[in-house]
Amino acid sequence: MLRVEDLHVHYGGIHALKGIELAVGEGQIVALIGANGAGKSTTLNTISGLVRASGGRVEFLGKDITNAPSHEIVRMGLCQVPEGRKIFPEMTVIENLLMGAYIRNDSEEIKADRDLVFDLFPRLKERQHQVASTLSGGEQQMLAIGRGLMSRPKLLLLDEPSMGLAPLLVKEIFNIVKAINQQGTTILLVEQNANMALSIADYGYVLETGRTVLHGPAQELAANEEVKAAYLGG
């Protein structure tokens, strides 16, 4: 479904990605793990068109989307839930969800999808008229994911959904990610919490300083001694 080949990114003089390779198959959850600064977020941002690639190729649903404008990529069914949530702080919960459905015009179905998001996250329903900046961190993450779902993506990119959340909430979010996947959305997940990520993923990639250094089925990666030592806390 998504194929990234030999992807390079330069930030000014810094060579941030040095040939990333990865593939995501339909219906999978694929985890991208690695330390701070390994290039995980840059990879996602380049796939979704926020960052320009200086070399390589990104292919989605058989089409070349390398350096295509973000808004066209979203229309093809690829939606990113960005790191740090990036919800619209001065809009209400409902308005945020409507922004997620910006590319769609079927108001009846948008309403139906909004109710689906509310079923997934009952807390958002309770706070639907609240301004988003007044939500707690966990609620903001739920809103960011819900907003991402509103575009009806075929592939959802999730960037650090566990960042800054209490362990109990992290578990809840990951359960929901799994549920979303079971309903038919393919997921590419970037995580520092490698344990959690590999526990729900089908396949995993390990990034190190801008390169893909290791990949394999998630269970194998979780059992790999090197990965254990470096990312799973021994």
């Binding site: 926020l50 979203v74 619209f88 809009m91």
Partner: protein, 350 residues
């Protein structure tokens, strides 16, 4: 009412106002009184001014007359300020060419009325359309190629665009002032205050345009996209919003409002000239900053404050102090509240 009684009442009203502000959170969070905070504040301010005038032994009618005149001037400032604030919201640029867009609108309206023989409303629409196109062209030609440059580059470009438009104006329209034909004559007597019809029209048209803008920004899809871009540009892109189109639309809407202001000023102060945009442009910018730059209701409030205070200063002190007071206001308000009256405290998050 004796002056002593008025003074006591004044103190009472000021105390009430302080109380209201202190318990603002309680009032605003209560659903039944949610929308009564601002009207109540406004009422108290009006009462305070009234008692102050009685206590000073001033002529209340004269004061009200001047304040009402100030509202029509303030309308013009507010309409221009909206463009400054909206453009700042989406690309964080103080568009110094905005005052000259207002000049273009004034001339477009003038020719629509004199050469095309249009009446007021069609002329207003023509002026708004011409200004919108000019604004979008300025963005497309001068600002868009610099989208990723440092902000100072954009700012200097904006000043250059302003000078270019002024000088083009001198060339095309010549520097001889033109005079709008008088379209609305007569005046009404409202509670003993005589108000010119033209000033009522200015105020009413402004309020209508502001309501339309508020509706556009709150409830329509392009309006929501505009707010999304101003709140988080990257997130907006990830929603599938085409940033370039939103920016162009923002310039179009802001410039159309400035064009409307150009026509409105023409029916109250009929002389127009190619450099007419400089001072009002600057004052509208001040109005936008006073209200809180990037905040739409702030621009409306700031415009009205500048307009009314300008008229009152002219009436009570001297017209030569007018501009000094307007800019003095800016300094005072920014000292007390650096983000403007309606501005929120933004702390850089780590």
């Amino acid at each position: 009412m004796s002056r002593v009684v008025a003074l006591v009442l004044l103190c009472l009203v000021v105390a009430l106002f302080a109380l209201l502000r202190k318990y603002r959170a309680v009032v605003v969070s209560n659903t039944a009184f949610k929308y009564s905070y601002y009207p109540a504040s406004a009422l108290l301010v009006i009462l305070a001014v009234n008692f102050l005038l009685v206590a000073l032994g001033a002529d209340r009618l004269f004061f009200v007359q001047q304040a009402v005149y100030g509202l029509s001037l303030g309308s013009v400032y507010a309409l221009i300020a909206l463009g400054y604030t909206m453009v700042y919201g989406v690309i964080k640029l103080i568009n110094f060419a905005h005052g000259d867009i207002y000049m273009v609108g004034a001339y477009a309206g003038y020719y629509a009325v004199t050469a095309l023989n249009l009446s007021f409303v069609p002329a207003l629409v023509v002026a708004m359309a011409v200004s919108a196109v000019t604004g979008v062209l300025v963005e497309r030609i001068a600002y868009k190629p610099l989208r990723d440059s440092p902000r100072i580059t954009l700012l200097i470009t904006a000043i250059g665009m302003s000078l270019l438009l002024e000088n083009l104006g001198q060339k095309v329209f010549t520097s001889t002032p033109r005079t709008y034909p008088s379209m609305f004559t007569g005046s009404y007597n409202v509670f003993g205050v005589s108000v010119d019809l033209s000033r009522i029209i200015v105020f009413v048209v402004t309020i209508l345009l502001m309501l339309a803008l508020q509706y556009f920004v709150t409830y329509t899809k392009p309006g929501r996209a505009m707010r999304a871009v101003s709140q988080d540009r990257d997130a907006a892109r990830l929603m599938g919003i085409d940033i370039d189109r939103v920016i162009a639309a923002t310039f179009a809407v802001g410039s159309a409002l400035a064009g409307a202001a150009g026509v409105l000023v023409g029916i109250v102060f009929p002389q127009i000239r190619p450099t007419m945009g400089v001072m009002p442009g600057l004052k509208a910018f001040v109005a936008a900053v006073i209200g809180g730059i990037g905040i739409i209701p702030g621009a409306m409030l700031g415009g009205m404050i500048i307009g009314v205070s300008e008229n009152l200063v002219t009436a009570y002190i001297s017209s030569s102090w007018r501009d000094a007071i307007a800019f003095g206001f800016l300094i005072l308000i920014l000292l007390a509240k650096p983000t403007g009256i309606l501005g929120k405290h933004t702390r850089e998050k780590v």
